[in-house]
Symmetry: C2
Subunit: 246 residues, 2 copies
């Protein structure tokens, strides 16, 4: 809700948080992330250093190898994070959605690139300011650590998906995972929004665009999903889940 920011009187925090609130409405940071775990004081400090910004579709705003000068959180839209090989092969290491943090590694350089899949709204924090806030507030650091280890768990599951599972299993697991992520953000739905292109799914799943397309077609032919523009609709939840689960 980028509009909400504009409507608020200036002396209220930019993100719309009221004193005592423990949820950052503008940054939409979910409980797993950071804000929800913070008291009003810490949230205030986060507000003090936040810069609201956004990126149009396809804009790259984090470049692998460059000095890590910002930490971001996504408030609207979807971001793809990826690594490029020198010959152009690409591996998407994750999609960041509203509530997710980027660039938490606290390393000097970014280990990946990031660009906007659609139009994206971001909270940007200066890394030095963010860093000293983290140092000053152990509780904050602890949440950050939990977020990072959760990311690690996801990454390990993704390794297993890519390393040991078939194309059909990968695509089904991706659909189920996307469905769950949207459910947390917008509530449950049989329609799974897929704002990214086929090539993004392919580069995320270690497949080619053709294989993703063929696999989706097969799932549709089997009556498990219905393919619609920018999304798929789940027709047979159980069968989809049974293909997706380990």
């Amino acid at each position: 809700m980028t509009e909400a920011i504009e409507l608020l009187p200036p002396r209220v925090h930019a993100c719309g948080r009221q004193p005592g609130d423990n949820y950052c409405d503008s940054c939409k940071v979910r409980s797993l992330a950071v804000c929800a775990a913070l008291g009003a004081d810490e949230l205030g400090e986060l507000d003090d250093i936040v810069h609201h910004t956004h990126a149009e579709g396809k804009t790259t705003f984090i470049h692998q190898g460059e000095a890590a000068e910002s930490v971001f959180s996504v408030t609207e839209g979807v971001v793809r994070l990826y690594k490029l090989l020198s010959d152009g092969r690409r591996q998407i290491i994750g999609f960041a959605m509203p509530g997710d943090f980027l660039g938490l590694a606290l390393h000097n350089r970014y280990g990946f690139s990031a660009d906007a899949v659609d139009n994206v709204a971001l909270c940007r924090f200066d890394r030095r300011e963010f860093d000293s806030l983290v140092t000053a507030k152990p509780h904050f650091l602890r949440r950050l650590h939990e977020f990072a280890t959760h990311e690690l768990v996801i990454a390990q599951e993704q390794m297993t998906l890519i390393g040991r599972r078939s194309a059909e299993e990968r695509v089904a697991a991706f659909l189920v995972a996307m469905r769950e992520r949207w459910a947390r953000i917008k509530g449950p739905s049989v329609t799974i929004q897929l704002p990214m292109q086929r090539i993004d799914m392919a580069d995320y799943l270690g497949l080619t665009i053709e294989t993703v397309s063929r696999t989706l077609t097969k799932l549709a032919r089997d009556g498990i999903i219905l393919i619609v523009p920018e999304a798929v609709r789940v027709l047979d939840e159980k069968r989809l889940a049974s293909i997706a689960r380990a």
Copy 2:
């Protein structure tokens, strides 16, 4: 050096650390991990809660899904961490070597299983004690967070390796990575120790045992490596690196 522990007079810390040292000789924790970042006080506290233990080859000491009651660090030997699919397919998500920590996620349940590749010596910490130490010492937490984000970076690189690179590239990258890890522990060498079996390499790289074997044979035939029991010797460093690098 498990022997070192035995030889020390009892009132000196079990790990052999002297007051003022900032490196835990028994736990052999590298700078990237935890100990090296801690002052003598924190190291003392770590000593107070450490239990030295070991695991014979093939023993499973962390079971995926079980309550996470311990945190470990490896002091001797190699540990494989893996996830199993219900049908028996296995993905090794990493090898832990001297100085590495296991079970840092601070989650309630382990997300992977771990067993000893060869004979392994471990420092075990009770998770609750470890947890409260972490909570009490922000500096410690910070190191832990750095360690976790480093693990995340490794995991993302592994995703790229498995998702987008050929069998030969995977094997070469694995050899180079193992070489660098041993170099940190024991110093540089042209001989790369490979205590794990072919099937472990295969399950780590998302390949089959036959493909790993054939690929090693090809590298040997090309004069890049020499295969010896439990290890390979690097003959042509440059060509190996050029296959391995992204």
